[in-house]
C-alpha cells in the first residue's frame, strides 16, 4: 500500500487554522489523492490550543494522525509548534510562523513565555523553515493574508503542481481578496 503523508497544523483558536486546512485539503483532493482532515470545534476554540490533522495518499483510514507519524508540523505560533513536536516523525519537517501569542497564564503574569523556543526548534530539527508571516503578508498588501503566506511556504515542501494551489485559492478566497492572496502565497513560497 502506498504511504500516507501526514501534515499537522498547530496554533491558537482564532488564527484561521481551519480555513488554511480547508485550502490544503482542497488542493490535495484536486491533485487526485484520498484526503482526510480532522479538527475539534467548540470549547477548544476561544483562544485555546488548536490543531488540524490533514492526511493524504492512495487510501487514508484514520482521520487523525498516528502519534509520532507527522511528516510535516505546520505551526502558526511558536509555543504551539513546540507543544506538538512529539507528533513529528524522526525525519519530519517543520514550517513555522515567527509569532508568539501569550497564553492566559503568561498574559496574567503567572507564568513566563519560555525563552529561546525558536532556537530550541532549530537545534532539534535543523531544516526547520521559519517564516516571517506577518511581514510578508504586509508586503502582499494585507496583514490578514498571513495564513496564505504560510501555505506558500508549506507548498515548497510538497510535490503539488503550483497551478492547483492557485486554483484552490481562487475557489476558496472571496473574489475581492484574490490578488493579495495570490501575492501572499508567492511571497511565502519564495521565502
Amino acid at each position: 500500500m502506498d504511504k500516507v503523508t501526514n501534515i499537522l497544523l498547530a496554533g491558537v483558536g482564532g488564527q484561521g487554522i481551519l480555513l488554511a486546512s480547508e485550502v490544503l485539503s482542497e488542493v490535495l483532493m484536486m491533485a487526485g489523492y484520498d484526503v482526510k482532515k480532522n479538527e475539534v470545534h467548540g470549547m477548544s476554540q476561544r483562544g485555546g490550543s488548536v490543531t488540524s490533522h490533514v492526511r493524504f495518499g492512495e487510501k487514508v483510514y484514520s482521520p487523525i494522525i498516528p502519534e509520532g507519524e507527522a511528516d510535516i508540523l505546520f505551526g502558526f505560533e511558536i509555543l504551539e509548534t513546540c507543544r506538538y513536536m512529539p507528533f513529528l516523525k524522526a525525519n519530519g519537517k517543520i514550517v513555522v510562523n515567527r509569532l508568539q501569542i501569550m497564553p492566559s497564564s503568561v498574559a496574567t503574569g503567572l507564568e513566563r513565555y519560555p525563552e529561546n523556543l525558536e532556537a530550541m526548534i532549530m537545534s532539534k530539527v535543523p531544516e526547520t523553515k521559519v517564516v516571517d508571516g506577518l511581514d510578508l503578508a504586509v508586503n502582499a498588501g494585507n496583514p490578514r493574508t498571513v495564513n496564505t503566506v504560510l501555505l506558500g511556504a508549506l507548498s515548497k515542501m510538497m510535490d503539488i503542481d503550483l497551478k492547483l494551489w492557485n486554483q484552490a485559492l481562487e475557489k476558496m478566497v472571496p473574489k475581492k481578496f484574490i490578488a493579495e492572496n495570490l501575492k501572499a502565497f508567492e511571497l511565502g513560497r519564495q521565502s
Binding site: M1, V12, G13, S25, E26, M29, D34, V35, K36, K37, N38, E39, V40, H41, G42, M43, S44, Q45, R46, G47, G48, S49, V60, Y61, S62, P63, I64, P66, E67, G68, E69, L79, E80, C82, R83, M85, P86, L88, K89, A90, G92, M102, P103, S104, S105, V106, A107, T108, G109, L110, E111, R112, Y113, P114, L117, M120, K124, V125
Partner: protein, 592 residues
C-alpha cells in the same frame, strides 16, 4: 455525480436532502450543530432550532404523523433530554421515515460527560447505524429512511466527534423522488399510546427487532474484509479506521448497524479466528453482546473505556508496538486553555460574583469558562438548566448565615432550554436564591445560533422574541432586575441587593455576545495603557482579559499593555484601574 470533501455533519445534511426530508429540527450541541447549519442549504427542507431536544424530537414526530420524512439531531447529552418521547416513539413506530442523529463526544472535547449513546439503541429498542467516514454518513442517513419505513421504527444514526468533524471525500447522488405528499391520516391504535394500545405495539417492536437482526446479516453495510486467517477484528464507526491503521493484515467484520447486531454473521465470522478482537470506543457495547453469545474476545480487558481511541492507543493496548516519541520540546510549556473573548459581557459579572463571595451554581455555555482563573467563580456545573434547581436545593438546606450566598448562573438559551422549569420550582417552593440570566442574545458556545429570545430563526428570519423579564415575572418572581454587564458598579450593587433579598430574584445581565455579526457596532475603539500612569498594581489582570498582557520586565514592578488587535474597547479594565492608566488609543482623553 459530483465529488466533494465534506465533514460528517455536512454529509448527514446531504443524506437527509437526498432522502427527501421535509423537516429538520435540533437544539445546537457540539459536535452535532453543523448538521442543521447545512440542511438550510436545501430549501426543500424546513430547518429550525427548537428550544430543547425534547421539543425537537416532538416536532419531528409531528412531521412524521403527517407523513413527511423528518430529521432530528442532537449531541449525546441532548438525547437524555429527549429520552421521554424517544422511548414511546419506538412503540408507535412511524408513518414516514424519522431519523435521529446523536453525536457522542468521546474524550469530552466539548462536553460534561462521555456517555455512550449506543446504549440508548438497546434501551429504547431502536436500530442504530454507525458511519465510519463522511461517505457512510451520507449513505447511512439516506438508507436509514428506507429502513425506518420498512421496519416501522425510528432509526438512529450515531456519530462521534471524529466522524462529525472529520472531512473526507464524498460522492453525492440525486435526491429521491416520488415520495407521498404529507396529509392527515388518523391511526389511533398506532399513535395513541394508552396502555391497551401500547401493550400491543410492544409485541410489534420485539418482532421487528428480531426480523431486522436476520435481515442485517445479509446487508452490505455489515461487511467482511477478508485478509489474515489468524486474526479477526469486529469493529464499527471511527474505531474501524484505527483498527485498519494498526492491523492492516487482519480480517475485519465492519458493522454498519450496531443495533440490533447481525448475530449469525458475527458467530460465523468469530468461529474462523484463533485471535478475535472487538475494537470499539467507550463502552464494551458490542463486546458484551458478543460475549453473551458465548464467544471469547479480546476487548476492554486491554482497550481503554475512558477517552477516545487513537491509532497509537489501539496499538499500545493490543501490544502491537510502542509509541515512538522522536522530538520533545525539553522545556515546560505553559498550557493554553480557552478563555472568554475580549469584550465578553460575562467577564464583569463573574468578576463581581467572585468579589461578592457568591457560591455559584453554574450551567452549560461559554460562561462555564467563569470557572477558569483568575475569575474562578463557579462552584458547580452539571447539565443544561441545572443551575436553577441546584441553587434552590442548596439555598433551602443552608443555615441563615449562608443561604443568601447562593447564586445560579445561566445563559439565555440554556434558560429557555430547561432553566425555566427550575425557576417555577424556585418560586413555587420558596427558595430565596438569586438567578442571574446572562443574556448575550445568542447561543454562543456552539457558534452563535439563534434561540427563542434572540428575535431570529435558524434561517435568519425575524421572529417573535421571548420577553425574559415578563417570563420570569409570569412564573411569580417579584424581583426582576436588568443590568448592563459592562457597568461593573451597577452590576455589583444590583447583585448585592438581590443576593441579600430574602425572596427569589432574577438579575438579567443583558449585553450581546461580542461576536454576533449583525451587531458589530458594539466594537469600540481599543484602549491603551499610559505607561507613565501604570503603577504595575496588577488590578486589571484580575479579569483575565486576553487583550491585556503583563510585561514583567517593564518599569520597576512590571506593566500592563493592551493588544490593539484584540481589544474591543469594552472598558472593564478602565473601571478597575485606580490610576486612570487606560485611555482611548491615540488620544490623551481618559476613556469615559
Amino acid at each position: 455525480m459530483a465529488k466533494e470533501i465534506l465533514s460528517g455533519n455536512e454529509a448527514i445534511a446531504r443524506g437527509a436532502y437526498e432522502a427527501g426530508v421535509k423537516l429538520a429540527v435540533a437544539y445546537p450541541g457540539t459536535p452535532s450543530t453543523e448538521i442543521l447549519e447545512n440542511t438550510i442549504k436545501y430549501p426543500s427542507i424546513d430547518s429550525s432550532w427548537a428550544p430543547n431536544e425534547k421539543v425537537a424530537l416532538e416536532v419531528g414526530i409531528g412531521a412524521c404523523l403527517g407523513g413527511a420524512r423528518s430529521l432530528v439531531t442532537m449531541k449525546h447529552v441532548g438525547l437524555n433530554v429527549a429520552a421521554d418521547p424517544l422511548f414511546t416513539l419506538s412503540y408507535t413506530g412511524v408513518r414516514s421515515g424519522l431519523v435521529l442523529v446523536v453525536a457522542d463526544d468521546p474524550e469530552l472535547h466539548s462536553s460534561q460527560n462521555e456517555q455512550d449513546s449506543r446504549h440508548y439503541a438497546r434501551a429504547a429498542k431502536m436500530p442504530m447505524f454507525e458511519p465510519a467516514d463522511s461517505q457512510e454518513a451520507l449513505d447511512f442517513t439516506r438508507l436509514a429512511y428506507d429502513v425506518s419505513e420498512q421496519f416501522d421504527t425510528p432509526v438512529f444514526v450515531r456519530t462521534t466527534t471524529r466522524i462529525s468533524h472529520s472531512k473526507s471525500i464524498v460522492e453525492e447522488a440525486e435526491p429521491q423522488t416520488g415520495l407521498p405528499e404529507p396529509s392527515l391520516k388518523r391511526d389511533p391504535a398506532k399513535f395513541v399510546m394508552l396502555p391497551g394500545n401500547a401493550r400491543k405495539r410492544h409485541h410489534v417492536v420485539e418482532d421487528e427487532l428480531l426480523k431486522m437482526a436476520d435481515w442485517a446479516a445479509q446487508q452490505p453495510f455489515n461487511r467482511i474484509e477478508e485478509r489474515s486467517a489468524e486474526v479477526g477484528v469486529i469493529t464499527s464507526g471511527v474505531s474501524y479506521q484505527y483498527a485498519r491503521e494498526v492491523l492492516p493484515d487482519a480480517s475485519v467484520l465492519k458493522l454498519g448497524l450496531v443495533y440490533p447486531l447481525a448475530k449469525k454473521l458475527i458467530s460465523d465470522f468469530a468461529a474462523r479466528f484463533k485471535t478475535l478482537y472487538v475494537i470499539e470506543e467507550l463502552e464494551p457495547f458490542i463486546e458484551d453482546q458478543v460475549r453473551a453469545m458465548g464467544i471469547d474476545v479480546i476487548g476492554k480487558d486491554c482497550l481503554p473505556i475512558c477517552g477516545e481511541l487513537t491509532p497509537g492507543r489501539v496499538a499500545a493496548a493490543i501490544g502491537h508496538e510502542e509509541l515512538v516519541v522522536n522530538h520533545t520540546a525539553d522545556v515546560d510549556l505553559p498550557n493554553r486553555p480557552p478563555n472568554m473573548c475580549p469584550g465578553c459581557p460575562h467577564r464583569g459579572v463573574f468578576y463581581n460574583l467572585k468579589r461578592l463571595k457568591a457560591f455559584v451554581t453554574g450551567d452549560i455555555g461559554c460562561y462555564t469558562l467563569g470557572f477558569m482563573p483568575p475569575l474562578s467563580a463557579m462552584d458547580s456545573c452539571i447539565c443544561m438548566g441545572a443551575s436553577v434547581g441546584n441553587a434552590s436545593g442548596l439555598n433551602k438546606v443552608l443555615p441563615e448565615s449562608e443561604k443568601q450566598k447562593v447564586v445560579g448562573v445561566i445563559g439565555d438559551s440554556t434558560f429557555l432550554h430547561t432553566g425555566i422549569n427550575g425557576l417555577m420550582d424556585m418560586v413555587y417552593n420558596g427558595s430565596t436564591a438569586t438567578l442571574v440570566i446572562l443574556d448575550n442574545r445568542t447561543t454562543a458556545m456552539t457558534g452563535r445560533q439563534e434561540n427563542p429570545s434572540s428575535g431570529f430563526t435558524l434561517v435568519g428570519q425575524e421572529s417573535k422574541e421571548v420577553d425574559l423579564e415578563a417570563l420570569c415575572r409570569s412564573v411569580g418572581v417579584e424581583h426582576v432586575r436588568t443590568v448592563n454587564p459592562w457597568d461593573l458598579e451597577q452590576t455589583r450593587s444590583v447583585l448585592q441587593e438581590e443576593m441579600d433579598r430574602k425572596a427569589p430574584s432574577v438579575v438579567i445581565t443583558r449585553g450581546p455576545c461580542i461576536l454576533i455579526k449583525r451587531d458589530m457596532g458594539q466594537r469600540k475603539t481599543p484602549l491603551e495603557v499610559d505607561a507613565d500612569k501604570c503603577t504595575g498594581c496588577k488590578a486589571c489582570l484580575n479579569i483575565g482579559c486576553p487583550a491585556i498582557e503583563w510585561r514583567p520586565d517593564e518599569g520597576e514592578r512590571g506593566k500592563a499593555v493592551v493588544s490593539q488587535l484584540l481589544c474591543v474597547g469594552c472598558g472593564i479594565c478602565d473601571q478597575l484601574c485606580k490610576f486612570d492608566a487606560f485611555k482611548l488609543v491615540d488620544s490623551e482623553v481618559k476613556n469615559g
